[in-house]
């Protein structure tokens, strides 16, 4: 059962031999994943890099549940989730998308969005959604971001800036500690200053709660500076993987060097 198994025996995330072909048997057939295996221990922070079409987003989709693998399996803390749809794995997985509007519900207020996240993956009944206790909790969760969201709890989310919405999405994802946190280029659409603020908040939250995290980024500095695992994908497979002290020894030029050997399209040092 979830939570009863120690991290020594069962990986937090185990992706085993996953392949996915989109539009099979048609002229637009595309092999997105080709026998990908990846295992993360609890508390691992894996950064995934790779060019467009390398299969990064498909891999995240397989973990989140909106892509169902053709072959192979995915398990989270020992529980096989390979065929479980998105809404039934939400208790295990939280996700922040690149597009700030995807993670929040417009027309609902900041505190109402947080109240939805507060029940992520749980049954929802007829209890009041925003109680004073919860409001206090929400304010405390938003305060460290330093974006003033803790004073705008009753503001409708569609009136917030993209950066504020993304910061809210991140807070929502971490409000209940997920077994796996998925970050899909979540800072790529933000201006540099906001991106740094959201990224700092991300690392703080991940470290504080020791959340097992999968992050896709095109930012080589983020890829090198953070996380204890680095995975480079190329044409639907893992081309290069490093961890621990070897990863710490990486520099941007050495990483770009590796990129060039695999695919010279990926010189996207932002």
């Amino acid at each position: 059962m979830r939570g009863e198994v120690t991290s020594e025996t069962v990986p937090a995330l185990a992706i085993a031999g996953v392949s996915k072909v989109f539009n099979p048997g048609t002229p637009t057939e595309r092999r997105a994943l080709n026998g990908v295996s990846l295992s993360l221990a609890e508390g691992d922070f894996a950064v995934i890099i790779g060019s467009n079409g390398a299969g990064k987003s498909t891999l995240l989709g397989v973990v989140a549940g909106d892509v169902i693998a053709d072959i192979g399996s995915v398990s989270i803390n020992g529980r096989d989730v390979t065929d479980i749809p998105v809404h039934r794995r939400a208790a295990l997985v939280a996700r922040v998308f690149q597009d700030p509007s995807r993670g929040t519900a417009p027309g609902l207020t900041v505190e109402e969005n947080l109240a939805i996240a507060y029940k992520r993956g749980q049954s929802r009944y007829l209890g009041k959604a925003v109680t004073s206790d919860r409001r206090k909790l929400f304010r405390e969760a938003l305060e460290p971001l330093g974006l003033g969201l803790d004073r705008r709890l009753d503001t409708r989310v569609d009136l917030l800036s993209g950066g504020q919405r993304q910061a809210l999405s991140l807070t929502m994802a971490c409000l209940l500690k997920p077994d796996i946190l998925i970050l899909d280029e979540h800072c790529a659409a933000l201006d540099p200053r906001t991106a740094e603020a959201v990224m700092t908040a991300t690392f703080n939250a991940v470290q504080r709660w020791r959340i097992t995290t999968l992050m896709v980024t095109h930012n080589m500095h983020h890829a090198i500076g953070h996380g204890n695992r680095l995975v480079m994908m190329h044409e639907g497979a893992i081309a290069f993987e490093t961890s621990g002290s070897e990863k710490e020894g990486l520099t941007v030029p050495s990483l770009v060097q590796r990129f060039q050997t695999a695919d010279d399209k990926i010189l996207l040092v932002r």
């Binding site: 939400a90 509007s101 995807r102 609902l108 109240a115 929802r124």
Partner: protein, 303 residues
């Protein structure tokens, strides 16, 4: 001029009672259109379904209360079916609604066995509550007002619960709702069902108040209800849950008084649908940002 004014003023109470009742249909439109982003046309069939089902049961000697409940459940089922058709077969919501309306036409005729049933001799649910209900306009107004206020209060409370937020999230951002573990299928099917239950309730009530059910009853009611909703939103706005839930009733009251005034001023009854249709068209055509302009929601077909 005084004659015109007089005939309008004389009709104000009757129109008010009628419009409050039709407010339930406008509410049945608001829930799918505004809360679920599911433009649902089923009400055009659910309204006569409620009337026909209730009338057939009353004439068959079924207790009025039970007849009403079954009529409402019939509407719920019709709404659920439309939502299911959209979700399961990935058919556009509007087409799913039209399919349902077409199917319900035959079902309504089957239920009644003929195209209309007079109810003058049958017991009515409302006469059980207050004898002479159907002839007593002030009692009707008070009754509908109480039911409407209770329903508005219930919805305002519900939409602020954990489950209510799940409904609103499903309409606002379906992908986000699913990622938060909300079963958007269940919410959509139940929501569209409840909305059409309200419409069927109005249909069953109208049949009893007017004393007959007809398979043609409520022809064009969808556009009337949409016009009422648009007017209501223009009057009270959509800036809070309370206003959004109140709008259908306010809009319905205003809409039917305006229609009544138009008729008193000599508007030909057969031109009513033209006028209402053009009104809705103009409101939809207005730019979204401009005050009063409204947009129909669109629901993407997804897996």
């Amino acid at each position: 001029m005084l004659d015109i004014l007089g005939s309008f003023v004389n009709l104000v109470p009757v129109t008010l009672a009628q419009s409050l009742l039709y407010g339930f249909v406008a509410l049945g439109i608001m829930i799918p259109f505004r809360l679920l982003s599911f433009p649902d046309l089923t009400c055009e069939g659910a309204f006569p379904l409620g009337g026909c089902l209730c009338a057939a049961l009353l004439v068959a000697g079924v207790a009025p209360g039970l007849s009403m409940i079954i009529a409402v459940l019939g509407g719920v089922l019709a709404g659920c079916a439309t939502a299911f058709i959209h979700l399961r077969f990935k058919i556009n919501t509007l087409l799913a609604g039209i399919l349902m309306i077409t199917i319900l036409w035959s079902i309504n005729l089957r239920i009644m066995g003929k195209s209309n049933i007079p109810l003058f001799a049958a017991p009515s649910f409302f006469d059980n509550i207050y004898s002479g209900f159907t002839l007593n306009v002030p009692v009707q107004i008070v009754f509908w007002l109480v039911v409407a206020i209770a329903l508005i209060a219930l919805l305002c409370w519900f939409l602020r619960t954990d489950l209510g937020l799940a409904v609103r999230a499903t309409g606002a951002n379906e992908a986000m709702a699913r990622a938060q573990g909300i079963s958007t299928w269940a919410i959509t099917i139940a929501g569209v069902g409840v909305a059409n239950g309200l419409t069927a309730f109005a249909g069953a009530s109208v049949a009893q108040v007017q004393g007959y059910a007809d398979v043609q009853m409520g022809f064009g009611i969808l556009i009337n209800a949409l016009a009422a909703l648009i007017i209501g939103e223009a009057v009270v706005g959509r800036t809070s849950i309370f206003r959004q839930v109140l709008a259908p009733f306010v809009g319905s009251v205003v809409y039917y008084q305006v229609i009544s005034a138009g008729l008193a001023l000599g508007l030909h009854p057969s031109d009513l649908k033209l006028v209402t249709g053009l009104f809705v068209l103009i409101m939809l055509a207005l730019p979204k940002r401009k005050a009063g302009g409204v947009a129909l929601p669109e629901r993407p077909v997804n897996a």
